[in-house]
C-alpha cells in the first residue's frame, strides 16, 4: 500500500515538470506583460528597466529554472496585474472554486446515479425516455449557453436567483464560505447546475449502461433465483458492481470540474480561480497563469491517486493482490 502510494507520487513528478515546461513555453505567445504594465506613456529606458526587473531578458531555460526553484519553495512571486503575491491570490480564490466544484459534483452524483439506475431498470418507461432526451441536451449544449439560458430564465424573467457573484460569504479562518448565508446558497444554485449538468448526463448514461450490463449476468439471475427482494438485487448486487467505472469517471470528472470551472466562473462572475486565470490571460500575467496550471496538474495527480486507492476498497480482487504482496503468503 505504502509502496504503491510512493511509486505513484514518484510518477507524478515528471508529469508536473512537463506541465510546467509546456505552460512556461506557451507564455511566449500570450503577449508581452511589459507593454501592458507600462500603459500608454513610457520611455524606452523605462521599458528596458522593467524587462530587467522581471528577468525577461534572461535565456528561456534560466527563467524556467528560476521559476521551478521558486515554485518548489511555494514562492510564485507577485502578480503582474494585481501587484499581490500569487500564492495569496490563489488561496483567496480557491474556496469559491472548490465549493462550486463540490456542489456541481454533488448535483451530478445525487441526480445522475438515481436517474441512471432508473433508466437502467425501467428501460421502456416514458420517464426513462424523457431522461435520455434531456441528457442529450446536457451533453450537446455548451456550458456558457446553458449558463446564460439559466440566467435569462431564473434571474431576468422570474427574478428568483442572482445572476452573478457569490452572495454574502462568511469567513472561517482563511476559508470564505457561501454555505452559511441565504444569499450565498441561492448564488450557488445556477452555477452548480450549469457546471454539473454535463457530468450529470455523463454519469447517468454510464450508470445506465453498466446496470444493463450487470443485470444480464449470471449472479444476478442466481440472486433472483434465491428469492432475494428486487431492492436487494438492484442496489446490493447490481449497483455496487457498476461502481468501479463510475468512481473512475466521477473522480476524473471532479478534476475536470475544478479545471474547467473557468467558463462557468466567467459567465457567473464567480470569484474563483478560473476567473482569476481568465483575467490573467488577458493581462499576460505569467506568474498567476503558471501557478494556476501547476495547481490544476497537481489536482489531477492527486485525484488519480485517490481514485486508485478507492478501487482498493471497492474491488476485493485488488485488495487481495496488495495483501498478497505485503504479507508474502
Amino acid at each position: 500500500m505504502l509502496a504503491f502510494v510512493i511509486s505513484r507520487i514518484l510518477q507524478a513528478i515528471p508529469v508536473m515538470l512537463a506541465v510546467a515546461l509546456i505552460s512556461f513555453a506557451m507564455f511566449a505567445y500570450v503577449g508581452d506583460p511589459v507593454s501592458i504594465m507600462l500603459g500608454q506613456d513610457f520611455t524606452e529606458a523605462q521599458r528596458q528597466a522593467l524587462i530587467r526587473d522581471l528577468g525577461l531578458d534572461q535565456p528561456f531555460f534560466v527563467q524556467f529554472a528560476t521559476f521551478i526553484g521558486n515554485a518548489v519553495q511555494g514562492e510564485f512571486g507577485l502578480s503582474y496585474r494585481l501587484s499581490r503575491p500569487v500564492a495569496e491570490l490563489i488561496a483567496e480564490r480557491a474556496p469559491a472554486t472548490l465549493e462550486l466544484a463540490f456542489c456541481a459534483a454533488a448535483v451530478a452524483l445525487l441526480v445522475g446515479v438515481p436517474m441512471g439506475v432508473y433508466t437502467g431498470l425501467y428501460r421502456n418507461s416514458w420517464l426513462s425516455r424523457a431522461f435520455l432526451t434531456f441528457s442529450l441536451v446536457g451533453v450537446s449544449l455548451p456550458t456558457f449557453l446553458i449558463g446564460i439560458l439559466l440566467i435569462l430564465i431564473f434571474s431576468v424573467w422570474l427574478g428568483w436567483l442572482p445572476s452573478f457573484g457569490r452572495g454574502d460569504t462568511v469567513q472561517l479562518g482563511w476559508w470564505s464560505t457561501g454555505f452559511l448565508t441565504v444569499s450565498g446558497l441561492k448564488a450557488l444554485i445556477l452555477p452548480s447546475v450549469t457546471l454539473g449538468l454535463f457530468q450529470l448526463t455523463l454519469i447517468m448514461r454510464l450508470v445506465r449502461a453498466e446496470m444493463l450490463e450487470v443485470l444480464r449476468t449470471d449472479y444476478i439471475k442466481f440472486a433472483r433465483a434465491r428469492g432475494l427482494a428486487n431492492r436487494a438485487v438492484h442496489f446490493g448486487h447490481a449497483l455496487k458492481n457498476t461502481l468501479v467505472p463510475v468512481i473512475t469517471i466521477a473522480g476524473l470528472q471532479l478534476g475536470g470540474i475544478i479545471a474547467f470551472a473557468i467558463v462557468t466562473e466567467t459567465v457567473f462572475q464567480w470569484p474563483g480561480m478560473g476567473l482569476l486565470f481568465i483575467q490573467s490571460v488577458g493581462a499576460a500575467d505569467i506568474p498567476v497563469m503558471a501557478a494556476y496550471l501547476l495547481l490544476i496538474a497537481l489536482v489531477f495527480v492527486v485525484i488519480n491517486l485517490v481514485v486508485d486507492l478507492l478501487y482498493y476498497f471497492v474491488d476485493p480482487r485488488l485488495r487481495a493482490g496488495f495483501g498478497a504482496a505485503r504479507g508474502g503468503h
Binding site: 508581452d32 500603459g39 511555494g74 494585481l82 495569496e88 480557491a94 445572476s163 469567513q171 462572475q269 488577458g282
Partner: protein, 536 residues
Amino acid sequence: MRMRAGAGLRAAMAAAVLAMAGLAMPGTATAKTVRWSASGDPNTLDPHSQNVGTVTMVLQQIYDPLIKRNPDLSIAPGLATEWRQEEPTRWRFLLRPGVRFHEGEAMTAEDVAFSIQRALQPTSNFGIFVDTIDRAVVVDERTVDIVLKRPDPILPNKLASIFIMSKAWSERHNATRPQNTRAREEMHTVRNANGTGAFRLAAREPDVRTTMTRNEAWWGWGIEGNSGNVTEIVFRPIASDATRIAALLSGEVDFVLDPPLQDLNRLRQAPGVKVLEGPEVRTLFLAFDVNRDELLYSDVKGKNPFKDLRVRQALYQAIDIQAIHRTTMRGQSVVTGTLFPEQVNGYVKAEDVRLPFDANRARALLAEAGYPQGFAVTLDCSNNRYINDEQICQNIAAMWSRVGVRTSVKAQPLAPFFAQIQRDDTSVYMLGWGVPTLDALYSFQSLVATRNGDQGDGIWNYGRYSNPRMDALIQRMKAETGEARQAAITEALRLYREDVPHIPLHHQMIPWAMRSNIQIPHLANNQPYFRWAVVQ
C-alpha cells in the same frame, strides 16, 4: 500551494475584516445606493501606479487632484483654489484651507509636494502628466511652487490627472513610491486608499466588490453644481457582457459603464432602464509603415508602397466611412478627418475634413502610383480593445480589396496585438487613441513625432512616420503659448491632412446604461462622477 504562515494569517484577517464590512452593508441599503458594474476591476488603488481608465474610474471618487474637471471637461479649482504662472518655469498654487483626508490628517502643502514627487518616480505610470516638472517646492503651509524644466502652457490640464495623497499616511504604511515590480511584498496602497474626495473607501475585495461611502465632510458639497445625493457606491465587476446586462435587467445592478453595442436597442426598450449616450475622447485610425524599404507583410518586393502619398490617399478614399458608421457602429460613432475630437484643446473645425469616399479615384491613384493590379497586405487589429474593432477591420479589408488591395485581417486580443505592434512588427494597423490631457500636444507627440528617445516623443508611432516639419511644429507646441501655439497646432493639423500619415476613421461614442431613476452627467473621458449623480 503552501503559504508562509505570516502572509496567510494576514490575508485571512484582512479578508475577514472585508467580509464583515461587506455583511454590514445591506443594513444601509435604504439610503441612496448605486450598484455599479463594468467589465474590468481596478488592478490597484495606488493613485500613481497605473494610468488606465478602470483604475481612475474608482480612484477619482476617492481622491482629489489640485485642479478638477467640470462635466464639460473644462478645468476648475480642486484642492488648489488659485494658481498663476510666476515665471515661465515657476507656477504657484494656493491650497484650499480646511481640507482633511478621510483618516483625519489635514491636507497641507507638504502632501501636495510629496504627491507630485511620488508621481515623478520611475515606477509611476503618470510620467506624461509631470514630464515638464523639475520639482515641487513648499513655500508655506498653503502654498506650493512647481518648478519646471521648460515652460509648459498646459500644466494645469495635466495636474488634473494627479491625485493628492497624504504624506504622513504614505510614510506610515511604507508606500512613499508607487509599486515596484521587483518587490515581493504587496504594498498597502494596492488595496487601501486615503483621499480627500467625495467618497471614502469602505471595503475592497479585488475582482468582487469595492464599496465607497459618502464623505459628508467633503469640501466640495457646498459648492454649486456638486448636488449629488448618492450615499454609497458598490462597484462589482462582471466580465461577461451577457451577464452584466442580465444583472442590470434583473435589477441587481443600477449602472453599467460599458454595455455591449448589440444590446443597446433591447436596453432602450426595457422598462426601468435607460441608455445615455455621449462622445468619448478616443479616435480610431489606421497607421502605415512608412519607414521600411520593403513591407514585412505584403507581396510587393523591393519597395514600400506606403511611402507613396498616392497609395495612402487611395486607401483613404477607398473607405466608405459612412457605411461603417451606419452598419458596424449602428450610428454610434462620430466620423472624423482629423486626429482628435473637439473636446481636445487645439481642435480646428476647418481641418476636420475627410478625403471623400471615391472607389474609382482610389483605383486611379493606385494605377498612377504603379499598382494597377493592386497588391496584398495584412492589416493588424485588436479584437477586444475598442468598440467593434475586429468588425471595423473586416469592413475596411473588404473595401480595400474592392479597389485591388487584397487585405487580410490579423485580429488578436490586446495583449499579443500591442506586443506585436510595439516591436514595429506591422505593415498597417488600427489604433484607438484617447487624450487624457485633453490637449493636442499629447496626440501629436505620441503618434506622429519622430521617435528620438525623449519622453513621450513618437512612443506610439509604430509606422515610424517622420517629417521634420511636423517635428518642428511639435517643438513649438511644447514651448509656446497663446495664439502662437494655436497657430502651430493648426498648421500641424493641416500637415496631418495633407501628408496622410494615418487614415482617421471616427471618434468612439460611449453608451452608459442605467436604471431610469439615476441621473448622471455623461463625460467624454468615460468616467462616471457619482458626486454629480442623483438617485430618485
